[in-house]
């Protein structure tokens, strides 16, 4: 049973339906082992955003303040969407790469373990 209701057939209002975001998705981005950012960041992005633009525009705004960011070796970065690894293709859109509404994109930068090597 999806809820214990007082009356049969109770259905809750889904507050964050994709329709409420004017064609955009909420997309979360988290950098593994970089806890300078207390939590993954939540952004509103177009599902049709090409990955190249995501990489060159969105990522620097979100993570550029970190001293490790400038030295990231991008070809070695490991990407995941909702826990599943994917190969980024610059011209493919977020949607084509498997990103959905409220998805989590994670990236891991091998070798870079954050400020003071403390995962910060």
């Amino acid at each position: 049973m999806a809820v214990k209701p007082l009356h049969e057939g109770y259905i809750g209002e889904v507050k964050d339906r994709v329709e409420n975001y004017g064609g955009n998705y909420i997309v979360h981005i988290g950098w593994d082992h970089h806890m300078l950012y207390a939590a993954p960041q939540a952004l509103v992005l177009s599902p049709d955003l090409p990955f190249a633009e995501f990489l060159h525009k969105v990522m620097p705004e979100s993570f550029g303040a970190h001293p490790d960011f400038a030295t990231i070796d991008w070809p070695s970065v490991q990407w995941k969407v909702d826990g599943t690894a994917f190969e980024p293709v610059p011209e493919k859109t977020l949607k084509e790469l498997g990103v959905g509404h409220k998805s989590v994109i994670r990236f891991d930068t091998p070798g870079a373990m954050g400020i003071g090597n403390a995962g910060v």
Binding site: A2, V3, K4, P5, L6, Y10, I11, G12, E13, V14, K15, D16, R17, V18, N20, Y21, I26, H28, G30, D32, H33, H34, M35, L36, Y37, A38, A39, P40, Q41, A42, L43, V44, E61, S62, F63, A65, D82, G83, G100, H101, K102, S103, V104, R106, M113, G114, I115, G116, A118, G119, V120
Partner: protein, 500 residues
């Protein structure tokens, strides 16, 4: 004619049990429509042992005497400018957090107990709930009065009820209580009377009240003492509730166990706010969060769950996880508040060297390794005039609504990512505990009013963050949400104390 004076026991019986009646021409189920849908089976309401035998006339008399003394102390505190005797102006931020996060919960408790105080079929449970409802309303009033003096001298205390309904981090306590109040009456009592009041309340009240005492806040200490006799009654009710339900029918055991698991985890998440208050916000520390958790949950709760084992009740699921998290959560939460300091209705700061040494001593396994480097980095940036803020909005847990700041049990540098899909929508969580709660009742939690998502939908004004803070949250921007060291609160304090 001489009237015999009733003894207390007879008076209590006449004024409570004997006021009840049986239903002869109405269906009892229609009179108590909430009593059965949760699946709890009550065979005999007469087995309810009233945990406190107090009639309304003696209640009013006793409370009136107590409050007369309490208000005399509030008056003296105000007349003597008691706010000048606190340890450090940073302390007032604890009061701000309490007033916006906890006091409105007392109001929700009043509403919740008034509701269940109508819905139980047993008169003993109804009277106990009604009595507690009145206690909670008194607590709202006395807390507001205790803290109102600070509102004349410090920023951030002007709109607690408004902020409670709207501000991002206050959706955490608000949604906790709304979850309880939207449940059936038995779950409400297991959630609030047992799991919160009995098992976890010491972790809320002891830190706040001892914290007040250690930091010279006589108004809040006095409120705490005054509320203590009420809290003792509430705890007794919590224990009676759980024993009564478990003894009524064996089918109740798995239902109660599920609620204990759920509300332990929800309480544990809610109290992470208290952890950061103890370890970071109190200028004079009482004890560390880890020590408090060990004394009040692991020892106290351990004995309780041993006692409940005879009913087939096990310690809450994920209580083992809390033993690992107790070394981390206060640091993770204060880092979250500090890096979101532009959006908090209290001031934030970097701990001093002395405070960091205290944290190293209290958290030898974790502070120097994982958390000190963040503060040192933040301090370097502040010194360069590049104060670090979180660049956007954080991902929130669908269940507890806390930003996803918690980390894996075996790796404090990895965010805990958990997710579920339900009816084609994707949901994110901060922990296994919060995911379990969602998975059990998704139809309830899809309705969560998540502040970040609401901002993105345009339901909180904007479009700029500063507009949301000023117009929707009603912050006095630049004052309520300033860095402590540059705040107006700090400037005024220095003037009062005559220091440069």
């Amino acid at each position: 004619m001489t009237t015999k004076k009733l003894n207390i026991k007879d008076k209590y019986r006449l004024l409570t049990r004997d006021l009840d009646w049986d239903f002869s021409y109405q269906d009892r189920k229609e009179a108590f429509p909430y009593e059965e849908f949760e699946g709890i089976k009550i065979v005999d309401w007469d087995k309810w042992e009233d945990p406190f035998r107090m009639t309304m006339d003696s209640y009013w008399k006793y409370q009136a005497e107590k409050e007369k003394k309490l208000y005399a102390i509030f008056d003296a505190f105000a007349q003597n400018n008691g706010h000048l005797n606190i340890s450090d102006p940073r302390y007032v931020n604890v009061v701000k957090l309490f007033l916006t996060a906890v006091t409105p919960l007392e109001y929700q408790a009043y509403q919740g107990f008034a509701h269940v105080g109508r819905q139980f079929g047993g008169v003993g449970a109804r009277v106990a709930s009604q009595m507690q409802s009145i206690d909670e309303l008194r607590h709202v009033q006395t807390q507001v009065h205790a803290m109102s003096h600070y509102n004349k001298f410090f920023d951030g205390l002007h709109s607690p009820a408004h902020m409670h309904d709207r501000v991002w981090y206050l959706s955490v306590p608000k949604s906790f209580f709304e979850d309880a109040r939207a449940a059936g009456p038995f779950e409400f009592l297991v959630a609030v009377s047992f799991s919160f009041e009995y098992v976890l309340t010491s972790l809320l009240f002891v830190p706040f009240m001892s914290g007040a005492a250690y930091n010279g806040d006589m108004a809040t200490v006095t409120f705490g003492f005054s509320a203590q006799s009420d809290e003792a009654r509430h705890m007794t009710l919590g224990l009676e509730v759980i024993k009564f339900i478990l003894e009524q029918h064996e089918d109740n055991v798995p239902i109660v166990q599920k609620w204990i698991d759920k509300w332990f985890w929800r309480g544990n998440r809610l109290l992470s706010i208290v952890s950061t208050m103890m370890d970071y916000m109190l200028p004079n520390k009482v004890m560390s969060w880890q020590e408090a958790w060990e004394v009040y949950f692991e020892e106290g709760g351990g004995a309780l769950f041993k006692d409940l084992a005879r009913y087939g009740i096990k310690p809450p699921k994920y209580s083992e996880q809390s033993k690992i998290e107790k070394q981390h959560i206060s640091h993770q939460l204060w880092w979250t508040f500090y890096t979101h300091g532009f959006a908090t209705a209290f001031q934030t700061w970097i701990p001093t060297d002395k405070e960091m040494d205290w944290l190293s001593e209290k958290y030898p396994e974790t502070f120097d390794k994982y958390y000190r480097p963040r503060w040192e980095h933040a301090r370097q940036l502040e010194e360069k005039g590049e104060r670090f803020f979180f660049p956007g909005l954080p991902m929130l847990c669908q269940t507890c609504q806390i930003p996803a700041v918690f980390t894996e049990q075996d790796d404090p540098t990895m965010t805990t990512y958990r997710a579920s899909d339900y009816k084609g929508e994707h949901y994110n969580f901060c922990s296994d505990g919060c995911k379990d709660i969602f998975d059990d009742e998704p139809e309830k939690f899809v309705q969560a009013w998540l502040p970040v998502h609401q901002i993105f939908q345009g339901n909180c004004g904007g479009p700029e963050v500063s507009d949301i803070l000023a117009d929707y949250y009603q912050f006095n921007v630049g004052a309520d949400n300033a860095d402590m060291k540059n705040s107006d609160d700090m400037k005024r304090w220095k003037q009062w104390k005559g220091v440069a």
